[in-house]
């Protein structure tokens, strides 16, 4: 049986999800000083991120990330 990367990915997500959702870590509100920093975000510079998405969308066949916005450019 040929096992694809996609299959491994699904298995990984299924195995990781319960721990990811429940987790054993409990970070109290007074312990979130580092998390409160503006740089502790997935995309601290949204405009640079948006430029990157545009560049790679025009050069590659893939798209998708953290936004549901699609379309909008005839570059590819």
């Amino acid at each position: 049986m040929k096992i694809s990367v996609q299959w491994w990915l699904r298995v990984g997500v299924v195995l990781a999800l319960p721990g990811f959702l429940a987790g054993c870590a409990s970070v109290k509100p007074w312990d979130r000083d580092l998390l409160a920093e503006s740089r502790m975000r997935f995309n601290p510079c949204p405009m640079l991120h948006s430029i990157d998405e545009h560049i790679y969308f025009s050069k590659e066949a893939s798209m998708g990330g953290q936004s549901a916005a699609g379309g909008g450019c005839g570059c590819n």
Binding site: D31, Y56, G64, S67, G72
Partner: protein, 423 residues
């Protein structure tokens, strides 16, 4: 749980006070993973200009201006205006002619093409885009985001909306987001829309519809005081005119490999795309490490993986340096072919567009942010080097084409200069 780090008593008290101060700010944040306005800020202006240049190919200049109004109740509203100017050349999809050629334009300009040179098509276009976004927290744990965009260029118009609802669970340690989007685009090729897989002589005039609907499911999770992770799954459904009207495919002699004719590109009218993105942000003692991995698959049988990492080092309170790297790999779409053999039956769909072929992209770059003189806010300069490699000697190449590099690497440099301030 340990609240204090080892140190002297006075230092510990001071550090604790500072942490409690930041914690008070953290309590005011809606989701731990979401950004928020600095206290007192009402309006934020962000301006960037992209200068992008492919070696011997396309050149882009793209200034973008964004204004964000931040309200005291946590709402924000932003408007973004962008303008692209694109000039240069891109591969037409045709194979090298196999012999030296010279052409004389109507103005008398003579251009030459070497035997193994990839034919390109010159182009020039301008795009203007307007984006709006409204974000509103409600009920203590929900945040809604509604966005819209409109853009126009010579042969492409787009109008779209998108929305997202996020809910914070487990005392803001877990954020679940659900979103959707819809874009109504129209493609109006210059000179008309050629019939797919034809010699291009028959065209239809008018706009071709292209509709993109999308859905998003995202989960972000605080794993520790220093670590935030996320999983985002997106699905895009595209329907309508998805063909590249300006690309062609060479028809070659099955023995010599010389291109004798060509046909236009033709792609399916539907495409389903799925991506799964894993993201991580980790706070070291002083610096922050960002890492992500994306797996992508679509109904055209393109599979890709994207890995990105960046490392932010704050030089002082207002300056930082952030090197980054990106590695991307994709396989070819099921109907990608470098060329077709003259005399054989044409397939149902075919493209020679290298962007749908097997390729690898390497990116390396760095960002430097700094204040300038006594101006408020922050300046940002980012420089990137991008190298894209395809398959230069595909097994399907015949005759003279085996002597040429059919997908020469494309080197690109990009520079982004940005300025942000609040008042």
């Amino acid at each position: 749980m340990q609240l204090e780090t080892p140190g002297t008593s006075a230092g510990t008290t001071s550090a604790l006070r500072e942490r409690l101060g930041k914690a008070a700010l953290a309590l005011l944040l809606v989701p731990a993973s979401a950004g928020a306005a600095d206290s007192g800020a009402k309006t934020q202006i962000d301006y960037t200009t992209l200068l992008y240049g492919e070696q011997g190919r396309a050149q882009v200049v793209e200034p973008i201006l964004r204004a964000t109004r931040l309200f005291s109740d946590g709402q924000s509203f932003s408007l973004q205006l962008g303008f692209d100017s694109i000039t240069g050349a891109s591969p037409s999809g045709a194979l090298p002619s196999g012999s030296f050629q010279s052409r004389t334009s109507p103005s008398g300009r003579v251009t030459t093409l070497k035997a193994g040179e990839i034919p390109t098509t010159s182009f020039s276009d301008r795009r203007t885009g307007l984006d709006a976004e409204w974000q509103k927290p409600f009920g203590g744990r929900f945040t809604t985001t509604i966005g819209a965009h409109a853009s126009t260029e010579k042969d492409y118009d787009s109008l779209g909306v998108n929305g997202k609802v996020s809910v914070d669970l487990m005392q803001h340690l877990l954020t679940v987001s659900v979103g959707a989007g819809y874009s109504d685009d129209s493609v109006s090729p210059v000179g008309g829309t050629p019939l797919g897989l034809s010699d291009g002589s028959v065209v239809t005039h008018g706009a071709n519809a292209k509709r993109v609907s999308s859905a998003l499911l995202g989960i972000s999770r605080v794993l520790s005081r220093r670590w935030l992770v996320g999983i985002d799954v997106t699905r895009f459904e595209e329907k309508g005119y998805l063909t590249e009207p300006y690309k062609v495919i060479s028809l070659v002699d099955q023995v010599t490999g010389f291109p004798l004719d060509q046909v236009t590109d033709k792609r399916p009218s539907t495409r389903s795309r799925t991506s799964v993105l894993f993201s991580s942000v980790y706070h070291l003692t002083d610096d922050v490490v960002y890492a992500s991995y994306r797996y992508y698959t679509d109904s055209w049988k393109v599979r890709s993986t994207t890995s990105e990492v960046s490392y932010r080092h704050d030089l002082d309170e207002s300056r930082y340096f952030e090197p980054h790297a990106r590695f991307y790999q994709q396989n070819a779409a099921s109907f990608f072919t470098p060329g077709l053999v003259l005399g054989q039956d044409l397939p149902q769909f075919a493209t020679a567009d290298q962007r749908l072929g097997r390729l690898t992209t390497y990116t390396i770059g760095a960002t430097y942010a700094f204040p300038l003189f006594d101006l408020p806010g922050l300046w940002t300069v980012r420089a990137d080097y991008i190298r894209q490699e395809g398959v230069g000697n595909p097994p399907s190449a015949v005759g003279v084409q085996q002597n040429f590099n059919l997908a020469p690497a494309v080197n690109t440099t990009s520079l982004v200069v940005g300025y942000s301030f609040k008042f």
